[in-house]
Symmetry: C2
Subunit: 248 residues, 2 copies
C-alpha cells in the first residue's frame, strides 16, 4: 500500500463543511473522494486533518489516504484539479511515509479569523470576513487572549457534546489590526467543535466592552458554555495550516 | 447649487458596467442615482470619471453631482451605503469646489490588472483575476511596455469607433510578479474603450512569445486594431484611482 498526502484550499461558502455526511453530497471530502476514486480506479477514503464547519474556508487543509497502486503524484494533482470545481484546489500532492495520517499525525493547527470593522463591509472581502461595524478595544482583547493561552479545559468554548477530552493547548493568539480589518490568529495542538468561532466571538465581546478581559479567566474555569460569547460566523474563519512537526 | 464628490468601490461581476443604459437597470451609475435621488429628495444625475465595462471592478471610481440642497456629507454617505447593495460601497463623500466635475476635472487614472498564472486558479481570487496558466517571460513584457509609454495614437489598442482623438499619454506601466500572480499597473491621462484590456492582452502575448517585444512599436504605428492582442477579460481589471492633481 502507498500513502499519499494532499494540501487543499477551498472556499467553503457553498459547502456543508469538510466531513462526509448522510443526506448531502455537498461536502468537500465527498467531492474529492469521488474524483480521486475515479482517477485511482478504486474506492478511496480520505482522512482530513479535522472537520471544518459548513461555510468555513481553508488555505491549507491536509488529507491523507492509502491506495494499492503507486500514483504519479504531479499528474494526479493536475488531473484532480481539472475535475474538481473552481472552489476546491489541491495545492500539493506527495507520497507520505507509511503510517502517516493527516489527523492522527498532526501536532498542531493554525486558524485565522477575519473581521471587517468598517461601517459597510469591503466589497471584495465580504464573502470571507465577518462584518462587525463596532468600535473595538484591541488592547483589551489582547489582555483577554493571555488568559486563554496554555493548557486548559475548554468546555466553555465548545458546542460539542459527549466529548471525553476537552483539554487543549493554545500556544499563541495574535490579534492584529490593519486599518479597519482585524485578524485573529490561533495556534494550538487542536481545537474543539466551534472552539475558534466561540473564542473569536468572546474576544469580540471583550473588544466592545461587553465582557471584561479578566472575566475570560472565570469563563474558562466555569466550564459553562453559556458564560462565553457567541460563535462568530463561519465565513470569517480559515484553516490556515496543519503542523506535523513542532513549529520552530 | 452645491457640488459633491464621491469615491466608490464596486465588485462589477453582476453589473452591466458603470454607465447608464437603456434596456437595463443593472448599471452602477443607475443604482447609485436612484438611491441618491431618494435621499436628496430630488432627481440627481451623477457623472463618473469614466465608464467601466461590464464586469470591471473599482477600488476607487470617482463621481460628482450638483444639487440644490446642502447635504450632511457623512450622514448621506452612511445612509447611501445602507441602501446600496453589498457589492457597491461609497468610500468617501465630500463637498467639492464649484465647477468640479469627476470626468472633466480628472488629470489621470490608474488601472490594475490581475493575472493568475497557476495551473488552477486560486479559489479566493478567481472572481477577480484572469486565469492564464502559461509560462510568462516578464522581462520581455517589460521591454514591450517601454514602447507603449509616452504620447501615442492608441488606435491599435481600442475597440472604440468614431473617436476624434485617439492620442493618449501613458506615464507608466509597472509589471510585478508575486509568486504565480502577475499585476500590471497602468498610469495615464486617460484610456480609450477597451484600451487597458487590449494592452494587457497584447503584453500577455509578448509574455508567451507570440508577439516579439519590439513588434509592439510597429503595432502602435500601424493604427490597426487587428495587429494588437486580445482584450483580456473584464474580471481581472480594476479602476484603482482617479487623479485630480498631477501625481507627486
Amino acid at each position: 500500500m502507498y500513502t499519499y498526502r494532499m494540501r487543499i484550499a477551498y472556499d467553503g461558502t457553498r459547502y456543508r463543511g469538510w466531513q462526509k455526511q448522510k443526506n448531502t453530497d455537498q461536502t468537500i471530502q465527498m467531492i474529492i473522494e469521488k474524483e480521486l476514486s475515479h482517477l485511482c480506479e478504486s474506492s478511496v477514503v480520505i482522512s482530513g486533518s479535522g472537520r471544518t464547519d459548513s461555510g468555513v474556508h481553508a488555505f491549507g487543509q491536509e488529507a491523507s489516504f492509502r491506495v494499492k497502486k503507486e500514483l504519479e503524484t504531479e499528474r494526479v494533482r493536475k488531473e484532480l484539479n481539472k475535475k474538481l470545481p473552481d472552489d476546491i484546489r489541491v495545492l500539493a500532492f506527495t507520497e507520505a511515509p507509511e503510517g502517516f495520517h493527516a489527523r492522527k499525525s498532526a501536532v498542531g493547527k493554525c486558524y485565522e479569523y477575519y473581521v471587517d470593522l468598517q461601517d459597510k463591509a469591503d466589497v471584495f472581502s465580504r464573502r470571507y470576513s465577518y462584518h462587525f461595524p463596532r468600535k473595538i478595544d484591541v488592547a483589551a482583547m489582547r489582555e483577554a487572549a493571555e488568559y486563554l493561552k496554555g493548557i486548559h479545559d475548554f468546555s466553555s468554548f465548545t458546542d460539542g457534546k459527549d466529548i471525553d477530552d476537552t483539554v487543549r493547548t493554545i500556544e499563541e493568539i495574535q490579534i492584529q489590526k490593519e486599518k479597519e480589518r482585524l485578524i485573529l490568529t490561533f495556534y494550538g495542538d487542536g481545537f474543539l467543535y466551534h472552539m475558534v468561532r466561540i473564542l473569536t466571538g468572546t474576544l469580540l465581546c471583550v473588544g466592545t466592552g461587553q465582557i471584561a478581559p479578566e472575566k475570560v479567566k472565570e469563563i474558562l474555569l466555569s466550564k459553562d458554555r453559556r458564560q462565553a460569547g457567541f460563535p462568530a460566523p463561519a465565513k470569517g474563519l480559515f484553516l490556515k495550516e496543519v503542523y506535523y512537526e513542532e513549529r520552530g
